[in-house]
């Protein structure tokens, strides 16, 4: 069973659903090992999600996601400062993890309907991998986000920037999900695509349900229910802080 580690097949950026090497891949150790494996050798992560260490690996991936989302949240909250320095990280991390939790059962269903041979344990690992990749990429964007947050007063502009970063991170996260589906013998990808749209909509709506994240408000959570597109439209049409004479 424990055979010497082999060099995995060369990276193929357009097709990361490469066939599994015959020999056992190297174990994924620690937080940095997991991040490295996610970015450079995702098939190693997928393999170890099927072994006895899958629970530990999933927990590590979730820890990476939580820590990175919290850190990114501090950067996002630095736009307004004050209460947002702790509220934004809690909302971003909590909101994303909660979105993944409520979307997880439907991913399992869509996976099974697509013929994926993965149980709940493996699916939990796939979701954790998705969140971890998203979180790590957002950390990569964090310095850019911080620079912009210190040099602009437009909530709409900062919101658009964070959403853009989030969408890029989401795109790479879903590549991991796609590759996992291929590895677990999915016969169809239609369900996976539908699920990704659902997850994206839930995440976008969660940012509105937990507002304000960038701006300030008298209450921690909103008193009015709004669809995220309506909220974005209101933000774009709202007067800027310069126009209202409000200082940061």
């Amino acid at each position: 069973m424990n055979t010497p580690a082999v060099v995995p097949p060369p990276e193929q950026p357009d097709d990361i659903s490469a066939h599994v090497p015959v020999q056992e891949p190297e174990p994924v150790r620690g937080v940095f090992g997991a991040v490295d494996a996610l970015l450079r050798e995702p098939t190693r992560v997928m393999h170890h999600l099927t072994t006895s260490t899958s629970a530990q690996l999933t927990a590590t991936l979730l820890f990476i996601a939580l820590a990175a989302f919290l850190l990114y949240g501090v950067v996002a909250g630095s736009f307004s400062g004050g209460t947002q320095l702790w509220a934004a990280p809690v909302k971003i991390a909590g909101g994303l993890l909660f979105a993944a939790l409520i979307c997880f059962p439907s991913l399992f269903i869509f996976g099974c309907l697509a013929g994926v041979y993965a149980g709940m344990r493996e699916m939990a690992g796939i979701v954790a991998g998705l969140l971890a990749i998203m979180a790590v990429l957002l950390i990569g964007f964090a310095p850019i986000a911080w620079v912009f947050s210190q040099s602009t007063e437009s909530v709409a502009a900062m919101g658009a920037l964070h959403v853009t970063f989030g969408l890029v991170a989401f795109f790479f996260g879903t590549r991991f999900v796609s590759a996992s589906f291929d590895r677990f013998r999915a016969e169809s990808h239609a369900g996976k695509r539908v699920w990704m749209i659902i997850f994206l909509l839930v995440v976008l709506q969660m940012t509105t349900a937990l507002r304000p994240i960038l701006d300030t408000a008298p209450t921690l959570l909103p008193t009015e229910k709004k669809f995220f597109i309506a909220h974005w439209t209101d933000c774009i049409n709202a007067p800027t802080k310069a126009e209202t004479g409000d200082k940061k």
């Binding site: 409520i102 059962p105 439907s106 099974c112 309907l113 659902i198 839930v202 709506q205 229910k225």
Partner: protein, 238 residues
Amino acid sequence: MNSEKHPSLLAEIPVLLRGEAEPIARWMQRWETRRVVFYIGVIALGAGAYGAAMGCWRAPLQATYVAVKFPLIILLTTFGNALLNGMFAPLLGLNLTVRQSILAILMSFTIASTILGALSPLLVFLVWNVPPLEPGQPIPQSTYLSIQLTQVAMIAFAGVSANLRLMQLLRRLSGSAQIARRVLFSWLAGNLFLGSQLSWILRPFIGSPFLKVEFLRSNAFQGNFFESVFNAIRELMR
């Protein structure tokens, strides 16, 4: 999936969802009470969770009522039509016993209920993001319609997926796509006929802010679903 002598029944759910022909056909050959009870339990839980999500927009009590009513409709339809469906199958060329017909339909409803149960957190999230359906609380027409359409889409998706799997099973058992189609359509026609009337009797599900929360409407046994559809069409044509 391992097919041991006494596998965990929970492990059969992914097998049903994937539509694995061999194990499912094997389960069809023998009536096992524990399997039937398990399917009924999954229907109660899955459809019950979805029913609760449907009703929670109106009130927590409405959620409780619909959590009971939704699985009840499924189970009453299955067992109410059991004899009829059991007779249709051999008459249309598929040599199944009444018990096997019940088992096949229960499997299909188990798939649908599992899907609906998995989608119920999403429905609750959607309802959480709109104003509550309360007396005196104005709800935009677009909001009400989007909730309704979302529910229609979810139920339609669950129903289509479950019937696709049932079709695959019938095709394997009969060896003929034509026989499988005939049997499926006959079962669907009977189930839709009885199911729609049971839904009419057991209304409300989403509820109305203008009517109180109750398990059954006071006029539950007056009129029927098809009569109301006929009257609605007649009104439209005037």
